[in-house]
C-alpha cells in the first residue's frame, strides 16, 4: 500500500498553485491535510503525477471576522476550529470536535473536506445548513458557489482541475437562532451512517434542514424545516416521506436510522 511515484511542490501563494495546476493538464492534484488524499494515494486509487501542497499558503489559513459573517480559509484545520470558538458560529466548534479524532483533525482541513466531497463528511452538510458560500479561485479569478450547490454528486464537485477552494464565508445567524446537529457513528471517529443539521433563524426568517450521509450530496428537507419553524416539530412519517423522495432506495433500517438522525437534530435545536 504505497503510492505510485509522484512529484511534489509547495507553492508560496495561490497564484503559484493555480499556475502549477494549470500546467499539469489535469494530472496534478492539490493536497492539503492529506487525510483523504493520503489513503487514496496509498491504495493507488488516485495517481496524480504532481501534488501541489497548498497547506502552507498563509492566505488560505486565515480566519477573518467580516462583521455579519466569518471567513474561513480553505486550509484552516478542523483542530483550529475546534480550539477557537467563533462568536455567533459556535456550531462550528461543536462540529469540528466531532470530526474523526484529534490526529486527523490536526491535519484535515475545511477546504479539503469540501473538495473531497464525501457525502458522509461533516462540513458539506453543516455548511449547507448554515447557508455558507464557497469562494473558488481559478485562472480567471475568483467565483462564489453556494455550499449547498458545491457538491454535485458523491465525491464530485463544481471544481475544475485548475481551481482550488480559497475560503468559505459562513453568515452569522441572527440573535435567537437555534441549531441542531446529530450524527450517528458506529464508533468514535468513524464517518457517520446518518446525519442531519438544522438551523432555525427567526430573525432572518430562515429554517434550513439537511440530511447527510446519503449516497448523494446533503439533501434539503425544506418542508420539514418549515414545519419545525412553525410548529416546533415534525412527525416521523413526514420526515420518512421526505427522505423517501429525496433519497429513494433506502432499506427500512437505513431509512429508520436517518429519520432518527433528523428527529434528534430537531430535538436538539
Amino acid at each position: 500500500m504505497k503510492p505510485a511515484a509522484f512529484d511534489y511542490m509547495r507553492p508560496r501563494d495561490v497564484g503559484e498553485a493555480l499556475k502549477a495546476l494549470r500546467g499539469a493538464n489535469g494530472e496534478a492534484k492539490p493536497i492539503a491535510g492529506g487525510q483523504s488524499l493520503g489513503p487514496m494515494l496509498n491504495l493507488r486509487l488516485a495517481r496524480p503525477k504532481l501534488l501541489v501542497d497548498v497547506s502552507r499558503i498563509d492566505s488560505l489559513k486565515e480566519i477573518k471576522d467580516e462583521g455579519d459573517a466569518w471567513r474561513i480559509g480553505a486550509c484552516v484545520t478542523h483542530a483550529q476550529l475546534e480550539d477557537k470558538a467563533l462568536p455567533g458560529c459556535e456550531l462550528l466548534a461543536h462540529v469540528a470536535r466531532r470530526v474523526a479524532y484529534r490526529a486527523v483533525r490536526n491535519r484535515g482541513t475545511v477546504g479539503g473536506s469540501l473538495a473531497h466531497a464525501d457525502p458522509a463528511a461533516d462540513w458539506p452538510l453543516v455548511l449547507a445548513a448554515l447557508d455558507a458560500v464557497v469562494r473558488v479561485a481559478g485562472p480567471a479569478g475568483s467565483r462564489e458557489v453556494r455550499a449547498d450547490a458545491f457538491m454535485t454528486a458523491a465525491f464530485t464537485t463544481v471544481l475544475a482541475d485548475d481551481e482550488i477552494v480559497e475560503s468559505v464565508r459562513v453568515p452569522k445567524p441572527g440573535a435567537g437562532a437555534r441549531w441542531g446537529y446529530y450524527k450517528f457513528c458506529r464508533k468514535t471517529g468513524e464517518f457517520p451512517e446518518a446525519a442531519a443539521a438544522l438551523l432555525l433563524d427567526p430573525e432572518r426568517r430562515t429554517a434550513r434542514l439537511f440530511a447527510g450521509a446519503l449516497d448523494r450530496p446533503p439533501q434539503p428537507l425544506d418542508g420539514v424545516a418549515r414545519a419545525v419553524a412553525q410548529e416546533g416539530t415534525a412527525s416521523a412519517d413526514m420526515i420518512a416521506a421526505a427522505l423517501a423522495r429525496l433519497a429513494p432506495g433506502l432499506g427500512p433500517a437505513a431509512r429508520k436510522l436517518r429519520v432518527t438522525a433528523v428527529q434528534r437534530a430537531i430535538l436538539q435545536s
Binding site: 504505497k2 505510485a4 489513503p39 464508533k187 433500517a253 429508520k256
Partner: protein
C-alpha cells in the same frame, strides 16, 4: 480490580512489566524496524479473483531477477498439513499460486524492489490471464453441491466431518421441552497491531539462513522452513524480535516466509516482506466463521439433558501447517458442551472448503463460537421454560463437588467452582439495581438489558490431546535453561515467545519465587532458535503452565548445586546448610549467590578438587502431571443500553469473575483479560469480513472493517478466584485466550434480555445497528409472540 496482591516479586505479585519501558519509549525492535545493508523489499501480486484457473502469467520486460512465480522456485515444496483425524482430506498450498487461485489475495508473483513502493510498481505490471470459475462463498452450499470444488482432486468440498454421540438417545427421551436455534458467527481477521513479516538473510559465517520473523512459534517455523525448502534444520535459525501481537495468526508457516527465505538462499542478500493492513484484511480473513443448528432437550425446570448439534465451519481454501484445518472443528466438537453438567450429546461437525483465506486458530480457538452458541442456547432454554436465565445457567453448571469432572465430550475438568464465579458475577454486577432501572425506563428511551455467560477453557493441553488431533506436530515436554551468571544474576532461556503476554516479567517472577533473585536481575531470553531450547511455542494458553513449569523446575535443579558449593565456602557440612532467599545458610553464616557464582566462574581455586561439575547451568524438561489441560473458567456479566431508534448498543457495565488457578501476576492476567474482551467486543458488535457472490471481500481497509477503539471498550471490572490446578506447578492455569471467548455471548444475551418485550432475539454476529434495527422493524411487523 480485586486480587489482593501478594507482596514482593514472586508468584502473585503485581510486578510492573519489564518490557513496558522500551515499548513506551518507542524503542522496541520489530521486523519492520530492521534495516540491513543491501536489504530488498518484497511485495506480492495477489489474486483479484476468488476462484480461477491461471492461463498465463506475463512478467514485465526487464524484470529478470526481480519477479518470481511458482515455476521459478522449483526447490520449494508445497505446504501440506496432514492430520490423522478420520475423513481428513489434504490440501496442497503452493507458496505461489499454481494452476489455480483459490481466494482473493492469494499470492501469485513475488516482486522485489529497493523499496516497497518499487516492488509494488513491479507487481502492478505483471499480467495474468485468468479463466474465472464460480466461487464457493457459502459453506452450506459448498458442502451440499460438489459439482464445483475448491480442490478438484477431491470428491466434494469437505476437509473433514467429525461425529460424536454419547448417550444422546437415552437422555433426550426424558426431555419435557425441546428448543431449537440457528446461530452464526461472521468471518474475521485477527488484526494484530503488527501484521506478519519476515526478513530473511543468509549468514555466511554461521552458514545459516536466518529468518527474523514476527512469529509466535520460532522453533516450529524453523522446522517448517527447513522442511519446505529441503534444508537441514541446523542451516536455519529463526529469530522472533519484538512481535506486535499474534493471536494465532503467527503460529504457522506462511507462503510469504518461504518466498523471502528462498530469495535469501538464492541471492545471499537480505529480503524482507512486511504485510500491510490491506493484505491482512483481505488475505488474512481467516477465523471465527461458524454456523450452528442446535437442539436442546431440557426438563421443564430448564435442566439441560441432551444437546444435538450440527456445526459448520467455513474452512477456507487451505489447511495451514502445522496446526491444520482439523484443529478448529476438533475444538468445536469437543468444547461445545462448555461448563455444563449433562449426559446426552450428539454432534456432527463439517469443515468445508470455500474460496476464502484458509482458517487459522484465533485466540480462543473455536471456543468463542461454541460459547456463543451454548450460552445463547441456555438463555433460549430459560425463555422456553419461563425462568431467569441466570437461574437456569446456575443449575446446569458443573458443581464443585463433582470435580474433577469428565464431561459428555470426555473432557477432564480439573478443578474449580463454576457456580461460584456465576454467583459472584451476579452480585458484582448488582443485578437488582439494573432490574430496577430496567423497569423504571430510561429518560432517553433506551432499553436496559443484562446478560450472563459462563465458559471453561481448556488451557495448556498437551501430548495426549494433540496426539488425538494428529497434527504434524504434538507438543510434549517444554524445556527451560537457566544459568547463574558470574555476577549472581540469572539468565532464563525459554522456547516459547512473548509478544504482549509479559513473559519477560512473569517468567522472572517464577525464577524469583524459587531462587529469590531480584526480578530485575533475571534476564529472560526467548524467541530465538539459536539461543533457546526447543518448544512448540506460544499458543493454546500454554506458555505459563508448560514453559513456566520448566523454568520452575530448572531453577529448583540448581539449588542442591548452590548448597554444595555454599557448604564448601562456609566450611560447613552440606547437611547443615539450606538454601533460602538467594543465599546458602549454615549455622556459622551465609554466602550469597553472588559469592557462589564468583567462586565457580572466577575463583575456582576456592573450590575442592571433587567439586560437582554440573555447574551453575541447568536445562530441564517439564510437562504437567496430567496433560489433558488445566481448565480455567469465568463468568462474564454485562448491563447494556439498547437504542431502539438507532440500533446502537452501549455497554454500561462489564464484570468478569475469572479463575485461572494460581495467579502469577494479577496485573498481567487482568491485562490479558481486557485485551481479549476488547477483541470479543469486536466479534460481538463490529468485526466482519463480508463477501459478495463472487467471493470478493467487502472490507479492505479499517474504514470498512471496524474494530473497537478505546471509546468502545468500557471500564472492565475483573475479580479473581484462585482454585489451583492439581496438575501444574504452583497450580497455575493458562488464561491468555479466555477474555476473547465470552463477550459475544454475554453481550447478545444482554441485548436479547433488553429486547424481549419487543419479541426480538438476535443470534448472528456482528450485531450491527442496521441488523438490530431490521430485527426490531420486522418484529413490529408481525404480531407479538414469545420466541421459544
Amino acid at each position: 480490580m480485586s486480587a489482593e496482591a501478594r507482596p514482593g516479586q514472586g508468584v502473585g505479585a503485581r510486578v510492573p512489566r519489564k518490557e513496558d519501558a522500551r515499548h513506551l519509549h518507542g524503542r522496541g525492535l520489530f521486523v519492520p524496524d530492521m534495516m540491513l545493508p543491501g536489504q530488498r523489499e518484497v511485495a506480492f501480486l495477489r489474486s483479484p479473483l476468488a476462484h480461477a484457473r491461471i492461463a498465463a502469467v506475463r512478467k514485465p520486460p526487464g524484470s529478470e531477477g526481480r519477479v518470481f512465480v511458482r515455476g521459478d522456485m522449483p526447490e520449494v515444496l508445497p505446504i501440506v498439513a496432514p492430520s490423522t483425524l478420520p475423513t481428513f482430506k489434504l490440501s496442497e498450498q503452493h507458496h505461489l499460486a499454481y494452476g489455480k487461485v483459490r481466494f482473493v489475495g492469494e499470492p501469485i508473483a513475488c516482486c522485489v524492489g529497493r523499496t516497497r513502493a518499487e516492488a509494488e510498481d513491479l507487481a502492478e505490471q505483471v499480467e495474468v490471464d485468468f479463466e474465472e470459475l464460480p466461487a464457493l462463498v457459502d459453506a452450506h452450499q459448498a458442502r451440499l453441491d460438489p459439482s464445483i470444488r475448491v480442490h478438484e482432486e477431491w470428491s466434494d468440498n469437505l476437509y473433514l466431518t467429525l461425529q460424536l454421540d454419547n448417550g444422546f438417545d437415552e437422555c433426550s427421551k426424558k426431555a419435557d421441552v425441546v428448543v431449537k436455534r440457528e446461530i452464526e458467527l461472521s468471518r474475521q481477521s485477527m488484526n494484530p497491531m503488527e501484521g506478519k513479516g519476515t526478513l530473511a538473510v543468509w549468514d555466511d559465517r554461521a552458514n545459516q539462513l536466518v529468518l527474523h520473523s514476527s512469529s509466535q512459534t520460532p522453533h516450529l517455523l524453523r522446522v517448517g522452513v527447513a522442511r519446505f525448502l529441503r534444508l537441514n534444520e541446523e542451516q536455519v535459525r529463526v529469530i522472533a524480535p519484538d512481535v506486535g501481537g499474534g493471536f494465532g495468526y503467527k503460529c504457522i508457516v506462511f507462503p510469504e516466509d518461504l518466498c523471502v527465505a528462498w530469495l535469501a538462499l538464492k541471492y545471499r542478500k537480505p529480503f524482507r516482506y512486511v504485510e500491510d493492513r490491506r493484505e491482512h484484511l483481505v488475505a488474512g480473513a481467516n477465523s471465527r466463521q461458524h454456523h450452528y443448528n442446535l437442539t436442546a432437550y431440557a426438563s421443564k425446570e430448564g435442566r439441560l439433558l441432551a444437546l444435538d448439534a450440527e456445526v459448520t465451519i467455513d474452512g477456507g481454501a487451505y489447511s495451514n501447517w502445522p496446526f491444520t484445518i482439523g484443529l478448529e472443528p476438533g475444538q468445536a466438537t469437543g468444547n461445545l458442551p462448555g461448563p455444563y453438567d449433562f449426559r446426552g450429546y450428539r454432534v456432527k461437525t463439517y469443515c468445508v472448503a470455500t474460496n476464502k483465506p484458509g482458517f487459522l486458530p484465533y485466540r480462543g480457538v473455536a471456543r468463542t463460537g461454541v460459547c456463543f452458541a451454548m450460552e445463547l442456547m441456555i438463555d433460549a432454554i430459560a425463555r422456553a421454560v419461563n425462568r431467569d436465565p441466570y437461574e437456569v445457567r446456575l443449575q446446569n453448571l458443573v458443581r464443585p463437588e463433582q470435580m474433577p469432572y469428565d464431561n459428555v465430550a470426555r473432557k477432564h475438568y480439573d478443578s474449580g467452582d463454576y457456580p461460584r464465579a456465576l454467583r459472584m458475577a451476579r452480585e458484582k454486577l448488582d443485578v437488582e439495581k439494573w432490574r430496577e432501572r430496567q423497569k423504571r425506563g430510561e429518560p432517553d428511551k433506551r432499553i436496559i438489558g443484562i446478560g450472563f455467560a459462563s465458559y471453561c477453557e481448556q488451557s495448556a493441553h498437551g501430548t495426549s490431546v494433540f496426539a488425538a488431533w494428529g497434527l504434524p506436530m504434538t507438543p510434549g515436554y517444554d524445556q527451560a535453561a537457566v544459568r547463574l551468571t558470574a555476577g549472581g544474576g540469572l539468565e532464563v532461556r525459554i522456547g516459547v515467545q512473548s509478544h504482549g503476554q509479559g513473559m519477560e516479567t512473569t517468567m522472572a517472577q517464577l525464577a524469583h519465587q524459587v531462587l529469590g533473585i531480584d526480578v530485575a536481575r533475571v534476564q529472560v531470553v526467548h524467541g530465538d532458535t539459536g539461543t533457546t531450547p526447543f518448544s512448540t511455542g506460544t499458543y493454546a494458553s500454554r506458555s505459563m503452565v508448560m514453559s513456566g513449569g520448566a523454568v520452575v523446575n530448572a531453577c529448583r535443579e540448581l539449588i542442591p548445586r548452590f548448597v554444595r558449593i555454599g557448604a564448601h565456602l562456609l566450611k560447613a557440612p552440606e547437611a547443615d546448610c539450606r538454601f533460602e532467599n538467594g543465599a546458602v545458610i549454615a549455622p556459622s553464616g551465609s554466602v550469597s549467590l553472588k559469592d557462589i557464582a564468583e567462586a565457580w566462574y572466577m575463583r575456582p581455586e576456592r573450590l575442592p578438587e571433587n567439586v560437582d561439575r554440573a555447574g551453575l547451568e541447568a536445562s530441564v524438561a517439564f510437562k504437567p502431571k496430567r496433560d489433558t489441560g488445566a481448565f480455567s473458567y469465568a463468568s462474564h456479566a454485562v448491563a447494556v443500553a439498547v437504542d431502539p431508534e438507532t440500533g446502537q448498543v452501549e455497554i454500561l457495565d462489564y464484570v468478569v469473575v475469572e479463575d485461572c488457578g494460581t495467579l502469577v501476576n494479577p496485573m498481567v492476567v487482568e491485562g490479558q483479560a481486557i485485551g481479549g474482551i476488547a477483541q470479543g467486543i469486536g466479534t460481538a458488535l463490529y468485526e466482519e469480513q463480508q463477501y459478495d457472490a463472487n467471493g470478493q471481500p467487502n472490507a479492505s481497509t479499517l474504514a470498512d472493517y471496524l474494530i473497537p477503539g478505546p471509546t468502545e471498550i468500557p471500564a472492565i471490572r475483573i475479580f479473581h478466584i484462585e482454585s489451583p490446578s492439581p496438575y501444574t506447578e504452583f497450580g497455575m492455569k493458562g488464561m491468555g485466550e479466555g477474555g476473547a471467548i465470552a463477550p459475544p455471548a454475554v453481550i447478545f444475551n444482554a441485548v436479547n434480555d433488553a429486547l424481549r418485550p419487543l419479541g426480538v432475539e438476535v443470534r448472528d454476529t456482528p450485531l450491527t445497528p442496521e441488523k438490530l434495527l431490521d430485527a426490531i422493524e420486522r418484529a413490529k411487523a408481525v404480531p407479538k409472540r414469545e420466541a421459544a
